[in-house]
Point group: C2
């Protein structure tokens, strides 16, 4: 059967050499550790339209402003020249203040990893990828859905360390079996001992942040001055759209800017819920709020590493439930990328889905998100692997399926070339009409590494697949994450440094840790 | 829980009006019946590289040529100036002959439908979509996989008629319960009576083609001269890569060109199997073969409507099995689109997957295919809905999932705009910090039609979804296709015309039909 049912030749012939891969997976994946996006930026707005949105956001910041729940941050903003109304807690900033902030925010910087080869460039055409962040639940095909535990979080850190296409760590699931006052210590310790990629720190109060920074500083063997001048950790600050910044988020921006650590300011603007029902309106609100957060960071410390985050999607128009990976989401990516380029700051997007299981919907919504992010030249992709159920669950199988999709993009980024070796006229000459290329010299030299070798995708014929129990891609992914966890090895670490970090966590644990601020 | 686990506000609030859709599905989908691709063409080659590939293909046509199994077609080519070696059946054409053909091949044309509003423009920025073509098997979630029947084929024609995002009909499954000599009559009759979109005709011998053309001519109420001047049917000719054209395919090109009907010439070049192991090499071979078929059509009748087809993918490097929707497939799309623009002929691509079930793999491979096709400015998408298992099965559920993905692209093609109504500063002013937009006037005026309303995608919360039996997207798709078949209504048809078509089929049936040629 040929592709359109016309011809009747078998195409299931095998190559002459049994192609059992001899190359280690890790070797194959090394190329994934630093991605450069080769595609031109997609546009959904004219330059005039981008300017229109930007100027409207500036004007709304000046006339409407943002409500800031932290008194100390309002005072800081007032001192810097913002108009503060203490009664309503509303802070108005004029375009000049925002403009000055945009001049000092860096266009690109590097997040330092414990292993320098893992350091992550942000901006300048690179695509940095972090795993899912924040779900309270964990789910897998066999055991179903349950509250996240510390061991689940450790597993996701191990998986994040394993795959080179994941460049930073993240709070893949909330470890609900750990008391909230010491959760930040356990999480940071797990990141610093199980992996050597840059860690995430939550903004849940100044003391928690300081604890985490101290542990990360010790792990890097830096003194306090050096730490302030090297980006070694990151966080995401979500505004409480519309137009509100709560205490932990506002104070988080201040702490991170002071310490020279990276803040992604991401308004979560669901069109029709916490944002206008038009995508452009939701982006305008998001732009306004992100500019506010970025301005705050730059007021605290000019040059502080910030990322312009957008998470604009829409609600389901029948139920009001959030929807992700929709056409509106993808278009919002295109628009947000344009706005990010307008202000010259690295842009963060997401891979997301509303699906409750790692099924076809989860895949096509993730793809719509990924293409939106990649074509809009996203610099930082959060929720790159493991996000399910609108972010309420971290899924082990979705993590693997997402890795597959990310690796496919990484392969897509590689050039084809059209020199004599690639055009291969000599191979075409070698093979007779109606023949095949399996044994051609050109094939034999290249076939082992010619194509992407998938993690999960099956190419078995139907009979073989049925004999194997007709597993779906999600079911096949079970074996992959289980094997990767079995094969996982912790990175080597200087024992003195390891001891210093562990001692700090232990001391703070015995002191009772620090209460989260909300 | 907010998107990154930072904030803790519910986002499952409902809009103030229970948004039970009052608009009929068909109204909502009307916009899908004619798609214009707004995206700029993606490039994977420099202009020099494109020229390199094109010139190499021309040179290989002159030096190596193609083996043509049909003696009458070799004679026709010899008469037109090609070099024919009767011993090896190899036909060599020089660049001048190809160049002349490319001058007469139309850049755009329209395929006429029985209902004129369904007529399909090909080229000029339109994206025309046809369903899966050619699988021997049919599969659905409940009954599993089995040989295709005439009733299955009728069902797929009904579904193709139902969804406006499908623009032409196709041989979605091989009706194996119908004797091969009359299969073409039954298939054509089903297309002409169950739908009013342009039909497919197989190239399985001159007499079969003539039977089908006669039925289509009668259905349109055209005389023979008029029929030759209106494109009313289409086919796909697959070369037998490498470098071979068999009898039914070669004669099909001649019959279609003579009758002024549309031929898509598609080499099926799997890199590493019937084509060089490099994507560029596989595209070079495909380009050579497509140019040969296009040249033949233009020699028969200058101006004959032809489409430049590419189906370049790769084999699995471990097993030699075909792979689809791979990164190599997507890059091949980008390259093929460039080659099509180089020769100025509408380009056909595909939506494909190697998956054996309508799972996550089926979705992400279809998405990789679709984005490849759309970004490379595909003019004609074959296998747009229903393809599964490398084209060996037509899947009812995959058909619905594909419709969802296609509709999402159609929505993505709609502009966002950034005028005052879209930017919605008035809505942002209306809602207090930390409030919501559900009840804003701007929302109330727009929310019913603001966002794409999905067919299959679920946004229920986990509890509701579990109560409903935790159905996957594929399982939910069952209810969709069953409902659409129940609700299906045949288009109205002039009874005299219907009778003429039916009478012709009946007469030819009693005459024994026509044996397929292979």
């Amino acid at each position: 059967m040929d592709e359109d049912g016309n011809a009747r030749r078998s195409r299931r012939r095998r190559p002459p050499v049994a192609g059992k891969g001899t190359t280690d997976d890790l070797d194959l994946f090394t190329r994934y550790s630093r991605l450069r996006n080769p595609f031109p930026p997609m546009r959904v707005y004219s330059d005039d339209e981008v300017e229109n949105i930007h100027l409207t956001a500036l004007q709304l910041l000046e006339t409407l402003g943002m409500r800031v729940l932290s008194g100390s941050v309002r005072a800081l903003l007032a001192a810097a020249g913002a108009q503060v109304d203490e009664g309503s807690q509303v802070v108005r900033v004029d375009p000049a203040l925002v403009g000055k902030a945009l001049e000092t925010a860096p266009h690109e910087f590097t997040v330092r990893a414990l292993d320098p080869v893992r350091s992550v460039p942000i901006g300048a055409g690179h695509l940095a990828i972090a795993p899912v962040a924040g779900p309270p639940n964990v789910v897998d095909v066999r055991k179903g859905r349950r509250p996240g535990t510390m061991e689940d979080l450790r597993n996701f850190i191990r998986l994040s360390q394993t795959f080179d296409v994941i460049h930073l760590l993240g709070p893949c699931v909330e470890p609900q079996d750990v008391e909230v006052n010491i959760r930040h210590l356990e999480f940071t310790l797990a990141q610093l001992t199980l992996a050597d990629k840059p860690p995430w720190v939550f903004c849940r109060g100044r003391q928690q942040i300081r604890d985490c920074f101290e542990m990360i500083r010790l792990a890097h063997g830096l003194d306090e001055g050096e730490f302030r001048n090297h980006v070694c950790a990151y966080t995401v600050v979500n505004t409480n759209s519309p137009r509100q910044l709560d205490i932990p988020m506002a104070e988080g921006i201040v702490e991170f800017a002071n310490a020279g650590q990276m803040t992604i300011v991401t308004p979560f603007t669901l069109a029709g819920a916490m944002a206008p029902v038009t995508v452009t309106g939701a982006l305008t609100l998001a732009h306004m709020e992100a500019l506010f957060g970025i301005t705050l960071a730059q007021l605290v410390r000019p040059g502080a590493p910030v990322v312009y985050g957008t998470f604009t999607s829409n609600v389901d128009m029948k139920s009001g439930a959030p929807a992700f990976g929709t056409p509106e989401f993808t278009k919002a990516c295109f628009g947000a990328g344009q706005l990010a380029r307008r202000i010259g700051i690295p842009w963060r997007s997401s891979s997301a889905t509303a699906s409750n299981s790692p099924d076809a919907q989860a895949a096509y919504e993730a793809e719509m998100s990924l293409w939106g992010a990649v074509l809009a030249r996203c610099d930082f992709l959060l929720h790159g692997a493991g996000w399910l159920e609108g972010g309420l669950s971290a899924s082990y199988e979705k993590f693997i399926l997402d890795i597959e999709m990310l690796q496919m993009f990484a392969e897509l980024f590689q050039p084809l070339g059209a020199g004599a070796d690639e055009i291969a006229a000599m191979a075409i000459e070698e093979v007779a009409p109606g023949g095949h290329f399996f044994a051609a010299a050109h094939t034999m030299q290249r076939y082992r590494t010619a194509f992407y070798s998938p993690l999960v995708s099956a190419r078995q014929n139907y009979g073989q697949w049925q004999e194997g129990g007709s597993p779906s891609a999600a079911e096949r992914a079970v074996g992959v994450w289980e094997r990767k966890l079995r094969e996982y090895q912790a990175p080597r670490r200087d024992s003195a440094i390891l001891e210093a970090v562990t001692d700090y966590a232990e001391r703070r644990r015995t002191e009772g840790g620090a209460a989260p601020v909300s």
